[in-house]
Amino acid sequence: MAFDDDAREEGLHYPPALPRRAAAARPFLAFTVAAALLGAVFAAVSTGDFIRHLDRQVHSIHCSYIPGAGAEIGDSGCRTVMLSPYSSVLRALLWGGLPISLLALAVFAYLVMHAARPLLSSAPFTKHDSLYLVAAAALPVVMSVLYGYISVTRVGAVCKLCVGMYATSGALLFGALLAHVQADAAPAGAPVPLPRYARWFGEGVVYVAVLSLAYVLFAPASPKSLQGCGTLVTKGDSGIMIPLGQTRGGTPAITVVDPLCPACKGFDERMQASDLYRNLSVQAVLFPLDRACNWMVKESLHPGACAVSEAMLCDRAAAEDILAWAFANQAPLRELASTDDAGIRQRIESQFPTVKGCLGSSRIQNQLNKSLRWAVANALPVLTPQLFIGDKRVCDEDTDLGLEYTVARMLRGETPS
């Protein structure tokens, strides 16, 4: 529905010539369209990166202030943000959830359309029209502030594509505000056109709904997520298990972790953020990928992990604190251990004095060895992290974006159709 038609329907009459001020608003409308378009491109690149991962493989992620540039396969702020539970909603209902960037794409596309409309129309662009545009343009700004805050305080990483969206959101609102200033005054005595606003709002809802529905309908599914990837052959003795989280009555789950493995840290953060520690009674089995104790690795992927694992077994009451400390200091601990094994042991002992006299003892080495042998007895892949719900192994590709979805379904005992 066009602006002039809207006005006609509402019985308003405008002078035939385009007013001077309305013409003055056009450059700002054009600027607003351009900003929305740029925001849509940023959102599309981010959505594209997210969707590519629906094939359950590892892909590069674009991480640049220039949309489409800076594809990286390694760790980046964009990857951290994408794998965080805040990158999507409804994660327990849909593998990976509905990406926030898709919603952003819908909103930016809608704003392109909405801001371009008066540019293509000969009807006057009044403050009634511009007021709605300002309100609509404020939505991405509000969301930018909210997600920027979450990004910094909860995720601890900032994604450049997101920053691009934040910036374009600001520019978009700026353009809308200037267009509002330059817009014609509304006809004297004309009431705020709430029905028109409702219709425009409805159009925005259609954009979001259509894109979301299409996303859900066409999202690829894999029965493997529910089948799992193997089962435990032997549960092992409780001496090697370290309880994690506070829940003791939930469904039993086992995580296979290496305290100095970056992926394990990310996995732990996802588990915490997803509240899965509350629903599961999680126990950890230590599987350090460190040649000092693990004969299954030719080179130490995470030097120092054996020492940290020993410390966790030495003081089981403080094991979670030791793990949290190791996660928080992974890089310096690995670096220290790669040159000085005694050094990392001293560092652990100074941080956790209760492990003195135990660290490095034959009793504790024997216990850590049993953890590793538990992996052998169950013929586990030599990688971390791994998650078992009951005795069913969650596929590795389901431990990041699909974690909540897979665990939720496994907990419900769903079977693949």
Binding site: D55, A109, S121, F218, S362, L380, E397
Partner: protein, 227 residues
């Protein structure tokens, strides 16, 4: 006319991202269906299989495990005559099999005519036991020097092997891995150690070491072979 323009704008702005999303998801679905199982390429956790695990060494260890018996079978090891038959090797060849374990094995020394462990011997055994890593089998090969009679030395070497086992049982009670201990006592009859073994890690490192001394011993080692 404006209606059409605006409708086209509405549809166009919606259709473009819609097509992008659907096409991207379709491509992801195609890749998902054709993807190979990446996990299959990840190595599986296994017991250690070191380079020194020659077929002959594995044969000897396997024979000890079956013929001489692991603890779980109720047997208590092999006496010298059995050991010769089990090894089916000359003494020199038998010892040569274990040469690559020079950094892995320890030699626990005993006093002359003594079947009891001293403190250093106990510590040595505990150290070796803790260095299990991925090994599948714990080997105890005890000997006696040529001092004394053959029968006496057979009994003495048996006592030495049993002393190692008893210390492990006392120090690590309930340890499932005790079932992986294999005992072989050779007396003075088979595979006497040469003086070159004095250079190995032994419980009395630094003390004088003659051919007689080195054979008043129990050789202890985890064997990193998938038996």
């Amino acid at each position: 006319m404006p209606d059409r323009t605006h409708l086209a704008l509405f549809v166009g702005c919606l259709a473009l991202p819609l097509a992008f999303v659907v096409a991207s998801e379709h491509a992801a679905g195609t890749r998902l269906r054709s993807a190979t199982d990446a996990a299959a390429e990840v190595p599986i956790a296994t017991a250690a299989e070191d380079a020194y695990c020659s077929a002959q060494l594995k044969q000897v260890v396997r024979r000890v495990a079956s013929a001489c018996g692991l603890l779980e079978s109720g047997a208590r090891g092999c006496k010298p005559a059995d050991a010769k038959a089990v090894a089916a090797l000359t003494g020199e060849d038998f010892n040569a099999l274990f040469t690559p374990l020079s950094q892995r094995a320890r030699i626990v020394q005993f006093d002359e005519g003594e079947g009891r462990l001293d403190e250093a011997g106990m510590r040595e055994i505990e150290t070796v036991w803790a260095e299990k890593r991925g090994a599948s089998f714990f080997f105890v090969v005890s000997r006696a020097s040529t001092d004394g009679g053959v029968g006496y030395n057979a009994q003495l070497s048996q006592a030495r092997a049993q002393a190692v086992l008893q210390h492990l049982e006392a120090k690590f009670p309930q340890d499932e891995d005790l079932k992986k201990v294999g005992l072989l006592w050779l007396g003075e009859e088979f595979a006497q150690l040469g003086p070159e073994f004095c250079d190995w890690q032994r419980s009395r490192t630094g003390s004088p070491c003659t051919a007689q001394d080195i054979n008043r011993s129990a050789f202890v080692a985890w064997i990193d072979c998938a038996i």
